[in-house]
Amino acid sequence: MTFRQETREWLEENCPPTMRTPMPEKNKCWGGRNCKFESEEQKLWMERMAARGWTAPSWPKEYGGGGLNKDQVKVLREEMIAIKARNPLNSFGISMIGPAILEFGSEILKQQHLPPIIRGEIRWCQGYSEPNAGSDLAGLQARAEDCGDHFVVNGQKVWTTYADLADWMFCLVRTDRTAKKHTGISLVLFDMKTEGVTARPICLISGNSPFCETYLDNVRVGKDQVVGEVNKGWTIAKYLLTHERELIGNIGNDSGEKSLGEQAVESLGLKEGRLADEILRAEVAEWEVDFRSQQLTMERVKDEITSASVGNSSAMLKLYGTELNKRRFELLMALRGSNALSWHEQSGASRWLRSKGNSIEGGTTEVQLNIIAKRILGLG
């Protein structure tokens, strides 16, 4: 039996019917100690996938991953899309810190952190931005004092996604204040329950609070919790940013969500087989073309990937994907007219408002353009 057949059969047998429906943002499963499953099926689906290592299909089996090669991962993804299976586990552990630990971490860190990530037991958050270090991330000031067998961290992080719900943080700190700004940074890991960690949610224009301000007051961090070498954290930070960019660039691709064209037909109806509003019809078609080109480019990038090209393509995909997502929400608002402007959960206004941050978080559109111009086009 081919891998595809095997996969198809297994998914058919193990993916509960309710996990094959479009997934509203609020029902996403993030795992972790504070996880509240929306249903028994959601829990079952995550556990079944995790037991097979398919929450992290490409990770090595020895840490509980799926051990699949690139082609097999693609097959798994295609088969999941074919039955509209929900992503069993959304996780910064899987998309961000896990790959960094695999690439740069010690064996101890791998064994400590990877299995609980795969099982969805520990939810991670990212301590990157600071009030005075946004686009200029390398200017960060949170400092870690060397106290012999441990560090003591002091500072403030901001835009920490779901810090209030997360169990552990991966955090950029300055370990050498005399070095140049890129060379004195380290990446450290600590439990959010550690004394001195306080997370305070920030209310956004969308009415939701997905981000926090996180205060670090004399937080004790073991030296074995440094990923890679001390003072070499910037390399890992950049590596992680490429993963974050791919993630953000990929929004609007939730499996199961209706296409913009279908939503347009639902909102406006057809007149002699054509969308009832000619101008919106053209704008929707144009968006669909651009969206397809983005999807195909993600596919092409995966197919031609070499380790050198990852960073390059992630800047492009982040830039284009986020601008595309903003356009999508503007079009959805236009399609629904005044209905979309009402201030209740179903109107879509909240998601529209939230999308404005896409081209800012994870490196602004302008930062991506700088990266492309300098690193790829050799300008400046």
Binding site: G261, R292, D303, L379, G380
Partner: protein, 379 residues
């Protein structure tokens, strides 16, 4: 199927790039224009393309061709865009060959396709009657008479129509303009009685033709495909044509970007190279991004022509949309970022701009294809 070229396709691409960089290029086109070359292309270059076997790529093996892939041919088309290479390759070896391969009788295929593959016979599709593409709007009439048909009407924007050996004419055998049914295709020698050809030099220094048909008699053996069912051939042929034009546009766009990047690294103002200015860096980076997205779409569309041509309509139109817009942006931005020098005839950028607009309009611009995308998507 992976969105990358296989080894064979990569070889075709590399050798086409090398060959055309040496033998074609804007200077050749300039020479064709300034010498008022009546062909609108270099006979020598075409001869060399024939020797390389390019006209045989899309001709099936059983008809004396290579039966190679659209992906491979698309790589060559892209390079003809980068190098502005003018030749009958598109009209004959892509469009003409596809019409015959898809719609020709066994006899027509056996007789004509080996000659197409060998570069001995050139073809031109005479479809347009209005300034913007409207395939169902065909009004040129083909009236049945004993033993054949009589054609009356006129066509415009017939690429290579002024020099081609045979025309493939879309004419109405029943129904009224606006209906897809009732259109039929006919093979008509350019020099047949009653065919009046007017050469129309175009903005890109190439040629097309306006063609009048006055009581032109054609035999039944000159009908391509079933009577009244020409659309069943035209539709897939237009998909093929537009994907290859998208490949050419991609080549044009990419070459404009490369020329511009070179200039940004050379040209100094305010005591520094202008590529250090963020205003220009961002324009260049945005353009590069658009071209990267276009690449994926064109490759996917070429693969679709090879793998599932019957479902290729949507992706073909999407590829033309994306490529038209990328080429429009690249040519306009190329001129803006070069500044005044790009407005001079002496500089090459203008040739890319002019060629791009002709290719964009040929067989439907991005607006035409956006509308088709919406139709094919059920809205």
């Amino acid at each position: 199927m992976k969105l990358i070229l296989n080894e064979e396709e990569q070889m075709v691409r590399d050798s086409a790039a090398e060959f055309l960089a040496e033998k074609a290029g804007p200077n050749l086109l300039r020479e064709i224009r300034d010498s008022e070359n009546p062909l609108g292309y270099s006979a020598e270059l075409w001869q060399q393309m024939i020797e390389l076997g390019w006209p045989s790529i899309l001709v099936p093996e059983e008809n004396g061709g290579l039966g190679f892939s659209h992906v491979a041919m698309g790589q060559i088309m892209e390079q003809t865009g980068s190098s502005l290479a003018s030749s009958p390759l598109f009209a004959t070896s892509v469009v003409g060959a596809s019409v015959l391969a898809l719609g020709g009788t066994e006899q027509q295929k056996a007789k004509l396709l080996p000659r197409v593959a060998a570069g001995e016979l050139t073809l031109a599709l005479a479809l347009d009657e209005s300034a913007r593409l409207d395939p169902k709007g065909v009004a040129t009439s083909a009236t049945a008479v004993e033993g054949g048909y009589v054609l009356n009407g006129s066509k415009s924007f017939v690429v290579d129509g002024h020099v081609t050996d045979q025309l493939i004419v879309a004419a109405r055998t029943s129904g009224v303009p606006g209906e897809g049914e009732g259109i039929s295709l006919f093979l008509v020698p350019r020099e047949a009685d009653g065919v009046a050809v007017t050469r129309t030099p175009m903005v890109d220094s190439r040629n097309a033709a306006e063609i009048r048909f006055d009581d032109v008699s054609v035999g039944e053996d000159q009908v391509v495909g079933a009577i009244d069912q020409g659309m069943a051939i035209l539709e897939p042929v237009l998909n093929i044509a537009n994907v290859h034009l998208a490949a050419e546009l991609l080549g044009i766009a990419n070459e404009c970007l490369q020329l511009t990047l070179r200039y940004l690294k050379e040209r100094e103002q305010f005591g520094v190279v202008i590529g250090t200015f963020q205003a220009l860096q961002h324009r260049a980076a945005a353009l590069w991004t658009d071209i990267e997205l276009c690449k994926s779409m064109v490759l996917k569309a070429l693969q679709a022509l090879d793998e599932s041509p019957e479902d290729a309509g949507l992706i073909a139109s999407m590829a033309k949309v994306k490529a038209c817009k990328a080429a429009e942006l690249a040519t306009n931005e190329g001129i803006q970022m070069h500044g005044g020098i790009a407005m001079t005839d002496e500089f090459d950028m203008g040739f890319f701009l002019k060629r791009a607009r002709v290719v964009q309009m040929l067989f439907g611009d991005h607006r035409y294809h956006l509308n088709r995308c919406a139709e094919l998507s059920g809205y």
